[in-house]
């Protein structure tokens, strides 16, 4: 069968270049290992400086509350808040806490006692997070200095579903699967057609009585297998090493992953038909996938907080949908029905991209 011949040829290409094959299999594994540990969204050990103008037992208690929280690490005790500036400029601290003179008296006589936190706005993401975590510490402290009969009678029982222990890895590792798969499959396929164009073998193929669609399908099938293998490796590593829960059905995840590969590979194909040389194809594939798939897909940055335009762009990135699928299956135990809209989104995206690729391919050979 002609299609089979093309598929076999493409497999040989992959298998006969052991270095590439090694890279394709090992790199994702290495990436999960590194990033699974390294990307941690929970604030930890952020360096701060403290100016304590009160030197009382209470002010020390507050400082202790900051350092004991695990979020902050007090690196310096400068004499006054003006010294923060130099520490910021040298990048030694990210935030500065100032406890006012008379703090100990104020907290038993005044309604409100101001505590100042200065953050380095040049790294505003951290700055913002520092403020949020500080707020929580102050609130906790407030509750402790309120006399018993004035305590809030409302007791909040917070419960965290799907990620009970608030592990960052449970969020990040499934995200890595989505991002790495998208990049690797788009990269792999983007090279294929461009390479045949460059070496002149495309002409050879087109001269054979094969339909362009057969060529395209034949070229893509091996990469589906390869990408799927990568997916399994990453997911497997995530489950084994990072103890990411697997609450849903493996079949649903496998189906979802297969569907996800469709728009990813189609994107790679589209890029390769648009490029005359491998170099151009690779540059395009990298540039198009690397930043948007990390920044706009919800991998790290919450989509809900983005401006409308960006939310729209995020809806044409395949990783956006797959992130919901894989996190849904692993963490929430979501079933097929509830993930159907995401799968549909992927199918629509894939079909549009593939349609464009086939059209472009036909234009080129006519």
């Amino acid at each position: 069968m002609r299609l089979w011949a093309i598929i076999k040829k493409e497999f040989f290409h992959i298998l006969r270049d052991p270095r590439s094959l090694g890279i394709i299999v090992l790199m994702p594994l290495l990436m999960v290992l590194i990033f699974g540990y390294a990307i941690n969204l929970n604030l930890k050990n952020i360096p701060i400086a403290v100016v304590d103008n009160d030197h009382s037992a209470d002010s020390r208690r507050l400082i202790h509350a900051f350092s004991r929280s695990g979020y902050f690490e007090v690196r310096a005790y400068p004499a006054n808040a003006a010294d923060f500036e130099a520490l910021f400029r040298a990048g030694k601290i990210k935030g500065g806490l100032t406890i006012p003179r008379g703090f100990a008296t104020s907290i038993v006589t005044q309604l409100e006692t101001p505590v100042q936190i200065i953050v380095d706005g040049s790294d505003g993401n951290v700055g913002q997070t520092i403020l949020q975590y500080s707020e929580a510490i102050l609130m906790d402290f407030s509750a402790r200095i309120t006399p018993q009969q004035m305590q809030m009678p409302i007791e909040m029982r917070p419960r965290f579903w799907y990620n009970e222990t608030l592990q960052s890895a449970n969020f990040i590792v499934p995200g890595l699967v989505a991002v790495i798969l998208m990049m690797i499959s788009a990269l792999l396929t983007s090279i294929t057609i461009a390479r045949e164009k460059e070496t002149g073998t495309l002409e050879q193929l087109l001269a054979a009585p094969v339909h362009p669609v057969e060529i395209i399908v034949g070229k893509v099938v091996p990469y589906i297998a390869l990408a799927l293998l990568d997916g399994l490796i990453i997911i497997g590593a995530g489950l084994l090493i990072f103890d990411v829960p697997f609450r849903g059905s493996a079949v649903v995840l496998l189906m979802g992953t297969l569907i996800y590969l469709y728009p990813c590979l189609a994107l790679g194909l589209l890029i390769s038909t648009l490029s005359r040389t491998q170099q151009v194809a690779m540059m395009q594939a990298l540039i198009i996938t690397i930043l948007p798939s990390v920044m706009l897909s919800g991998f790290i940055f919450p989509i809900a907080s983005m401006p409308k335009l960006h939310q729209f762009i995020s809806s044409v990135i395949p990783a956006t949908y797959y992130l919901r699928i894989i996190r849904g299956v692993l963490l929430k135990g979501a079933d097929a029905a509830s993930l159907a809209p995401q799968a549909l989104g992927l199918l629509v995206l894939g079909t549009v991209l593939l349609g464009l690729a086939v059209k472009q391919f036909k234009v080129k050979i006519d």
Binding site: V126, P153, P158, Q279
Partner: protein
């Protein structure tokens, strides 16, 4: 001889219209899109409230959350907390139990259940804390209302108030720190990949063999392969500076010379990595994958997405091997903080060291021979 290498390289780049677009247009577009308001802020948290008490007090709680501007209330008729969260229609669910008002009236502690979708541990923690804070504010409001007549008692209510201030970027505008960061990433992608692919491509086509029998020295060859990209990178940096300051209105407070100098050091590292990759790859595909790994590593471990301090110790050490880490700090510091070379001496030294080491490694490995 170098002149001819440079002319050739420029012609090859500029004759490909797609390449020109990729090098000059795409980065600007990405900067314009990605520079905006993409951040870790937790906003528009979707909150479902199940008010089983349906009293004046419980309704006031609902109103407090509604008015906070922080939560988007989602309808809860015909739903339960599991169905809302499972379907992803809400991020957080608040349950006000029956007899809530009555219990409080009797001085009994009333329990509120707050269930958070914690897939994202960070946003979940922040949203839960914010819920708690709103509740506390609400309670103090209630107490204040009731105690207006009894100032003596009122004086016994105490709290700490956060007075926050942000240096260099008082409004914590995200473009101020995102745009410089994205510039670093774009520069890395361009220079590493162009250098690596440029050389490996000549290997693949066979022109490299032809060049190796000419008397050009390997230094000339390498200069010919890197200088064009240094120039292109500086043009990109200049364009990015213009876009950043004129379009996004980011203040540039530091020294242009310091930025240019440190950028040169940074380019030494990325070009060095590109060169090094070209010496360990036989095909463009291999080069692409090595470059890809370096870029993803560089990007995610640079402190751009998450603070390096959050990482386990061993992985923090790993980031010392990442040139992006240093330039990320430098470019933001020069832009916004007017940091001096002295302030940044550690980063500058690390960049220089990394650049020299990787460049030397590449030079050592680069042979004017085939095997």
């Amino acid at each position: 001889m170098l002149k001819h290498l440079l002319i050739k390289e420029f012609k090859q780049v500029f004759r490909q219209r797609e390449m020109v677009a990729i090098i000059f247009l795409v980065p600007v577009i990405q900067l314009l899109i990605l520079g905006y308001a993409i951040n870790l802020d937790v906003k528009h948290v979707r909150l479902g409230i199940f008010d089983e008490d349906r009293t004046a007090l419980s309704r006031r709680i609902v109103d407090t959350f509604d008015a906070s501007g922080y939560f988007d209330l989602v309808p809860t008729e015909n739903e339960n907390s599991a169905s809302l969260l499972d379907a992803g229609q809400a991020d957080i669910v608040l349950k006000i139990p029956r007899d809530f008002e009555r219990d409080i009236g009797r001085g009994k502690a009333a329990e509120l259940a707050v269930i958070t979708d914690a897939q994202n541990s960070n946003t979940a923690g922040i949203a839960a804390a914010y819920t708690q804070e709103l509740l506390r504010n609400f309670w103090e409001g209630e107490v204040n209302r009731k105690l207006r007549a009894q100032p003596a008692l009122r004086n016994r209510l105490h709290r700490l108030a956060l007075r926050s201030q942000a240096y260099y970027n008082p409004e914590l505008v995200s473009v101020y720190y995102m745009v410089p960061g994205i510039v670093v990433i774009l520069l890395t992608v361009m220079t590493t990949l162009l250098t690596a692919l440029g050389i490996v491509r000549e290997k693949e086509i066979g022109t490299l063999e032809q060049l190796m029998v000419t008397p050009i020295s390997k230094f000339h060859f390498i200069a010919g392969k890197t200088v064009p990209f240094i120039i292109i990178a500086f043009i990109e940096l200049a364009v990015a500076l213009l876009v950043g300051t004129l379009w996004f209105g980011i203040p540039f407070r530091g020294s242009l010379w310091l930025l240019a100098g440190t950028a040169s050091l940074f380019l030494l590292t990325t070009l060095g990595v590109g060169l090094f990759i070209s010496t360990i790859s036989n095909t463009q595909q291999q080069a692409l994958f090595f470059a890809w790994f370096f870029m993803v590593f560089g990007m995610l471990m640079s402190g751009f997405f998450t603070p390096i301090e959050n990482m386990p110790q061993a992985f923090q050490f790993l980031t010392y091997l990442n040139p992006l880490r240093y330039f990320m700090v430098i470019i933001r510091a020069v832009f916004l903080k007017d940091s001096s070379a002295g302030d940044l001496s550690g980063e500058i030294f690390a960049l220089a060291l990394f650049g020299i080491v990787i460049f030397s490694l590449a030079l050592l490995r680069f042979r004017k021979r085939i095997a």
